[in-house]
């Protein structure tokens, strides 16, 4: 049995052992995953999907397109001389790399936030992007990974950035059709010394689609990782974001924005492990909840023994626009060390009356004023996005989800 096959078999054994999470598990207290049970298996079929005009078309980037979890070469556009390819071909064409690759499939019950979905992903994933950047190389254009689906599928990406390598990766999830389905996506990332990665994940699936994701990042010395998680679509979406600041001087910045309505349910669990001294972490999540939507944020920072001079800061702001919306938030700190500077804050509230009054006194309608302030509240997270094309795409998409957005579009474009 090949190394990869063996690793996948181990993952399957783990999945069979732990099963899918239930609400009795502390980490799944607020999210009922029982309805995903029947959607777990990926359905591979040759259903053709027209992806014309989908995604961020105006973005100047290398493209990888996955339809129902399968790499579609003729829609993609990859750079020369850099190892970016589909996991499916990577496996067969590079025997020497197989061991390295297999590492990205390893799962263990002791991994933080490990659960049945993640184990199932590792056990059954057949395709995904395999990105390997050599030391000191820089990807001259962002890599845009577009996922289009109308069925349940499993996908697993692996990103390895060599020493001082730099890249920007954007993952975009879109679904077509009305059938209930589940996307199960994992991205495993290793950043070597001094590497820099900006990673955006935009979940914009259809209203009957569910989404379960895991992002695992291991950071070596002085590497830097920036994450932007944007949750707009889907009916049930859960993301586990696990960052290990493994060596001195590593830093991460995690940003999240949920704009939800209807009966949407979005849950982000983040876990940052400060295992080495002199590491910095920043986390900033904001949610805007309308309708009967339900947002869950659980941010945990774990400072291990010996991780001196840790600097950690987390903030979480939430606005409920409707009386049926619900937010559950839990910013956790676990600290086994005295030489640290850690803080977290969470707020839940309404728009500022004074600001509303100011806008109205300038002749702006109550709805538009409310809209404008809500937008400004949400946009504060997006400020950290360095790619302006992606940012304005997200702004437009997020904005369209707010009630009365039509009145304001004109106002903003002026």
């Amino acid at each position: 049995m090949s190394v990869l096959a063996q690793t996948q078999q181990d993952a399957l054994n783990l999945f069979e052992k732990i099963g899918l999470p239930t609400q009795r598990d502390e980490d799944w207290k607020y999210t009922d995953a029982s309805r995903l049970k029947d959607l777990l298996e990926s359905k591979v079929s040759g259903a053709s999907v027209d992806i014309h005009n989908l995604g961020i078309t105006e973005l100047d980037a290398y493209r990888m397109v996955f339809i129902n979890g399968v790499f579609t070469a003729n829609e993609s556009n990859l750079p020369q001389g850099i190892s970016i390819e589909s996991l499916a071909t990577f496996e067969t064409s590079n025997d020497n790399n197989e061991k390295e690759l297999a590492k990205l499939f390893q799962v263990s019950s002791s991994d933080p936030l490990m659960n049945g979905f993640a184990a199932y992903n590792a056990a059954t994933a057949k395709d995904g992007a395999a990105v390997c950047l050599k030391d000191n190389s820089k990807l001259d254009k962002p890599l845009y990974i577009l996922h289009v689906s109308n069925q349940s599928h499993v996908i697993r990406h692996g990103l390895m950035l060599g020493k001082h390598a730099e890249a920007e990766v954007i993952e975009h999830f879109i679904s077509l059709g009305e059938d209930k389905a589940l996307s199960n996506a994992t991205t495993a990332i290793i950043l070597k010394d001094g590497a820099r990665l900006e990673h955006s994940r935009i979940q914009q699936e259809g209203k009957s689609q569910s989404h379960v994701a895991r992002v695992e990042v291991k950071q070596l010395a002085n590497s830097s990782y920036t994450f932007h998680g944007v949750e707009l679509g889907g009916i049930l979406s859960r993301t586990d974001l696990v960052v290990d600041l493994h060596e001195q001087g590593a830093s991460c910045s995690l940003n999240g924005l949920f704009v939800l309505g209807g009966r949407q349910h979005v849950d982000h669990h983040t876990r940052i492990d400060h295992t080495a001294p002199h590491c910095t972490s920043r986390e900033h999540y904001r949610t805007v909840l309308d309708g009967r939507s339900h947002g869950v944020f659980n941010g945990k920072v774990m400072v291990h023994e010996g991780a001196i001079k840790t600097d950690s800061n987390m903030s979480n702001g939430n606005i409920l626009l409707s009386k049926n919306a619900e937010i559950d938030t839990k910013p956790e700190l676990e600290i086994y060390n005295d030489d640290v500077k850690c803080a977290h804050g969470a707020t839940i509230g309404q728009l500022d009356d004074k600001q509303l009054f100011y806008l109205r006194s300038r002749g702006i309608s109550a709805e538009a004023a409310q809209e404008l302030l809500t937008f400004a509240f949400a946009d504060e997270v997006l400020v950290a996005m360095s790619n302006q094309t992606v940012r304005s795409y997200v702004e437009k998409a997020a904005f369209a989800k707010l009630p009365h957005s039509d009145d304001l579009e004109g106002l903003l474009s002026e």
């Binding site: 919306a325 676990e334 500077k341 850690c342 977290h344 707020t347 839940i348």
Partner: protein, 485 residues
């Protein structure tokens, strides 16, 4: 930093000055727990049938429950068959009618602890506080009964209240913490032996501070007291409890239940100075303090505040909570917790907002030194109908030493769009710049550390009744005494 290390050393060395035992003959049940033991306790207390049935119901429920393991504490589980569920100083069958009948050795014990049981001391103007003293399983003396009775206030051991005011006890007992609420509450409901009962009638402002002093003395016993405080419409009461235990090598269990009921416009202030024996520097011995405290703000505009200074116990598992049921009701929680050596504390609060315009404030200050582990675990829940609910939470931790830990697990659940909530938490050590600044102004290093720690705890100490604020300050100072220079 030298200072921190020294403070830490000193904290480790901190001696427990309430660690003596009193050689007193006691009437103790053999270890073990079964329905007969409960019947025996009930018979000893000459309880009515309904209470025995209530206890048995709790016991049967307890048998089906498992000890909770979610708290961030690590300890050897108690063998519930190896402890004795009833211990009373002899003779205990009939309660003392006056202080002259109380065993002089007991009075000596309370004297050593600085609890002025003798009314003369009050008359001499030492303190103006009514005290109910609970020794192992029974209440031994309640002072100032007469004066309180004139005001209409009932303040007596709960075992007496069962006989004298059965309708009140039956109406309210278990109405805030039901028998099957959790593992330890169920155990307590089955075997509780004594505790204090307070009833403040309509519109009465209790003329003095009420206080209960708990002491575990006998070997191999657990203490299971139950406190019930009812503040009727428009009344006001301030209540303080204190706790100590002898130094022993084995762990003793303390599983208490405190229920507070505040009706319309009533206010209850409940303060605790918990100084149970924390075990030695290697974590041997000490009290397991597994306590369920809950207040029900049943009436509109009612107020409850919990203030706690937690310095003792090997393991603490305690979450004083407020159910803000009445409209415009207010819940407050102020806590200072100090853990040193191998102490572990998992403590915090729950604020359940159900009524409209309810407000809650949480201020929690943790100081962790040595190899101690401390967690703040809190819940703020705003229900669907809690219009305009408001919460402010601040939990800060001060770390002294690189082997200790401080953790924060705040749960926030909001189901109402008009709710406003702010939560902030920080964790750090004493800033070198702060120390430098104070020393530069001519303060010795020790004074500077004391001042900074005191400042850190000030928000909470300010909430204690005057006399106890002084006591709490002293307790903190003793902890830090001689730490520098």
């Amino acid at each position: 930093m030298a200072t921190n290390e020294e403070i830490q050393k000193d904290l480790e060395k901190r001696e427990y000055d309430a660690g003596f035992t009193t050689d007193i003959e006691s009437d103790t049940l053999p270890p073990g727990l079964n329905e007969d033991v409960i019947r025996h306790i009930s018979a000893k207390k000459n309880e009515p049938q309904w209470l025995l049935d209530w206890r048995l119901e709790a016991y049967r429920h307890w048998l089906t429950m498992e000890e909770p393991t979610w708290a961030a504490v690590d300890y050897t589980p108690t063998d519930y068959q190896s402890i004795s569920y009833y211990s009373a100083p002899k003779p205990a069958d009939s309660g003392p009618d006056s202080l002259d009948e109380v065993d002089p050795k007991l009075l000596e014990t309370y004297d050593k602890l600085g609890i002025p049981l003798r009314e003369q001391e009050f008359l001499a103007g030492v303190k103006n506080i009514a005290v109910d003293a609970v020794f192992d399983s029974v209440s031994v003396a309640t002072t100032f009964k007469g004066k309180l009775k004139d005001a209409g206030v009932i303040f007596c051991p709960i075992s007496e209240a069962v006989h004298d005011y059965p309708e009140l006890v039956q109406k309210y007992l278990g109405s805030v913490v039901p028998q099957g609420d959790n593992f330890f509450a169920a155990l307590n409901s089955a075997v509780f032996t004594d505790g204090s009962f307070v009833y403040i009638p309509k519109g009465v402002r209790c003329p003095m501070e009420l206080s209960t002093y708990f002491r575990i003395n006998a070997l191999n016993t657990g203490q299971f007291e139950r406190t019930l405080i009812i503040a009727d419409e428009g009344s006001h009461v301030s209540y303080l409890e204190g706790c100590t235990a002898p130094m022993r090598d084995e762990n003793q269990l303390h599983a208490a239940v405190v229920e507070l009921v505040a009706l319309d416009d009533a206010e209850i202030k409940y303060a605790t100075v918990q100084n149970w024996y924390p075990g030695d520097e290697n974590g041997v011995g000490g009290i397991y303090n597994f306590v369920t405290k809950r207040a029900d703000c049943r009436g509109d505009r009612s107020k409850v505040s919990w203030t706690q200074v937690e310095t003792g116990s090997a393991i603490t598992w305690k979450y004083p909570s407020c159910i803000l049921r009445g409209d415009d009701s207010v819940g407050k929680f102020f806590s200072v917790a100090v853990t040193t050596n191998c102490q572990q504390a998992d403590t915090g609060t729950k604020m359940i907002h159900l009524g409209k315009n309810t407000k809650s404030t949480i201020i929690s200050k943790g100081i962790s030194a040595g190899r101690a582990q401390q967690s703040y675990r809190g819940l703020v829940r705003m229900g669907k109908n809690a219009e305009n609910a408001r919460n402010f939470t601040q939990c800060d931790s001060l770390l002294l030493g690189d082997k200790c830990g401080a953790h924060t697990f705040p749960y926030v659940e909001v189901k109402n769009a008009t709710a406003t909530l702010e939560h902030e938490a920080t964790t750090s050590k004493i800033g070198e710049d702060q120390l430098f600044y104070c020393q530069q102004r001519g303060l010795s290093e020790e004074d500077a550390v004391n001042m900074i720690v005191n400042g850190f705890c000030k928000d909470v100490f300010d909430e204690l009744p005057m006399e106890f604020a002084v006591e709490a300050n002293r307790l903190m100072e003793v902890s830090l005494e001689g730490s520098v220079g």
